[in-house]
């Protein structure tokens, strides 16, 4: 298993953002659904080794990120797209992706081709020498995805990756996700159920810091049968599970 979480919690003062999440994930595309404030981003940040858990155990790629050596090894094999992508406006797309490839400790000889590949995969080849400050929101998101995949990660964590992408780009992005999911664990946090339906082999639903559903998209759809809220079958399943969890 690439991701093993046991009783993972995270508190911010008195607020419990993540409340005892236990989860295992192997290769595949894994959707993390939930309303705003459900704890998806906090959970993803812990998996990205950015945020230490308050309690519980976390093992990533077979290692405990608590130690400096294992954490460094995990980070070499990790790709992370934060919800809010910070960037240096004066960097070009190529400089941006290359900067983070170098900080990921990639072998220097492999960096130029890996950066070019990642930029082409997100469809920004014609913008490679353009400064980030001139890009649209969707293009910036794609530059962020490029830095996340540049090291061909074994664990890819994406927080709202399709925000700002147009429909055509979202379709292409889902194909990219499925390709990565064949050999890596891809965790996608989103509130867009159509992304989950199109790309994910497993889905978890969070509410108030807790995991209230885990299964396949088909199983989530089945939960929604006979439930009136929602336009699409997956949306009805989503609403039904949330309603049951809150009742």
């Amino acid at each position: 298993m690439n991701v093993e979480l046991t009783g993972l919690t995270r508190k911010f003062g008195r607020t419990q953002a993540v409340a005892g999440v236990t989860l295992e994930a192997g290769p595949g595309v894994f959707g993390l659904l939930g309303p705003n404030g459900a704890g998806k981003t906090s959970l993803l940040r812990m998996m990205a080794t950015v945020l230490p858990p308050t309690s519980g155990t976390l093992r990533l790629l077979g290692r405990d990120p608590g130690g400096y050596g294992p954490r460094r090894e995990i980070r070499r094999r990790l790709g992370y797209l934060p919800q809010t992508l910070g960037y240096y406006p004066g960097f070009t797309v190529y400089d941006f992706v290359e900067y983070f490839a170098l900080l990921k400790d990639m072998p220097p000889g492999q960096v130029p081709r890996a950066v070019a590949t990642a930029i082409e995969q997100v469809g920004l080849g014609d913008k490679a020498r353009v400064k980030l400050r001139t890009l649209s929101g969707g293009m910036l998101r794609r530059a962020g995805i490029a830095q996340a995949i540049v090291n061909r990660p074994e664990l890819l964590l994406l927080d709202e990756p399709t925000a700002g992408l147009d429909p055509e780009q979202r379709v292409a992005f889902r194909a990219l996700l499925r390709e990565f999911g064949q050999r890596a664990t891809v965790v996608v946090s989103t509130h867009l159920v159509e992304d989950v339906a199109a790309a994910c082999s497993e889905v978890s639903l969070m509410d108030s810091g807790r995991l209230v559903f885990h299964g396949t998209p088909g199983e989530l759809i089945a939960r929604g049968e006979g439930h009136g809220v929602g336009d699409a079958p997956l949306e009805r399943g989503y609403s039904a599970v949330l309603a049951a969890a809150r009742s």
Partner: protein
């Protein structure tokens, strides 16, 4: 976006090509060379010195730190001159290594560095980047100070009482961090080293300020910084055959 199967888009249809040529691969090789910005002399030198292209790039880029560093330097210099002239005791100089390190540390975090969240998830530790930046800044300042001291005696006090000790403290921190592979150990070692230096001055001279005012400390500081640089070079060397 592409799924990685056809990266060249319409390029394939541009003309006849031999069947065994992988155009995607060729294009990526060309694109990598065309798009790439060649590192400048400073970055190449830093890469050779640090044996880490990631650290070298972070060191020469410092996108978010330049303004903060300039402001902090000016503020500390002015405060130092003011307090020293007013009280006769160089308190700011005495505390400067810690103050400067804290200033740099606080200039590197959420809200200041736009890519802080991403940097936190990188294999090259953000604290290691911080230590290297601090050492580079103080090392450069110390070199300039030594040059100025040679030309004018007026700069000697600031150089030997402030810049050289700060360089030594940062060098100790970086050496400890490199050897132990733990930036936290490095920061603790640097802080402890500076406290020991002050206490040693107190024990030998009967005054705390000896650590920054006694010229006898200058050569040990410089030798120590050079020794730490050697440790860093040894600990970060790349074994032969590493790609």
């Amino acid at each position: 976006m592409t799924g990685g199967d056809d990266l060249t888009g319409g390029y394939r249809g541009a003309g006849p090509v031999p069947g065994d040529v992988d155009l995607d691969r060729v294009w990526l090789g060309v694109a990598a060379q065309v798009w790439r910005r060649q590192p400048g002399p400073a970055e190449r030198a830093a890469t050779r010195l640090l044996r880490s292209p990631g650290l070298a790039r972070a060191l020469v880029t410092t996108p978010s730190l330049l303004l903060g560093w300039v402001i902090a330097t000016v503020v500390i210099l002015l405060t130092g001159v003011g307090v020293t002239l007013g009280t006769g005791t160089p308190w700011v100089a005495l505390l400067a290594p810690g103050v400067a390190a804290a200033g740099i540390a606080y200039a590197y975090g959420p809200g200041i560095d736009p890519a802080w969240e991403l940097s936190q998830s990188m294999a090259v530790s953000d604290r290691m980047v911080l230590l290297v930046r601090a050492l580079a800044v103080f090392g450069l300042n110390a070199a300039l100070g030594l040059a100025a001291s040679a030309a004018s005696g007026a700069a000697a006090a600031v150089t030997f009482g402030w810049l050289v000790p700060m360089t030594a403290v940062c060098a100790l921190a970086l050496a400890a961090a490199t050897v132990t592979r733990s930036p936290n150990v490095g920061v603790a070692a640097g802080s402890a080293g500076w406290v020991i230096a002050i206490l040693a001055g107190q024990a030998a001279e009967g005054r705390f300020t000896a650590a920054i005012t006694d010229s006898l400390f200058v050569l040990p500081y410089l030798a120590f910084a050079a020794g730490c640089a050697a440790v860093v070079l040894f600990a970060t060397r790349i074994p032969r055959g590493t790609p």
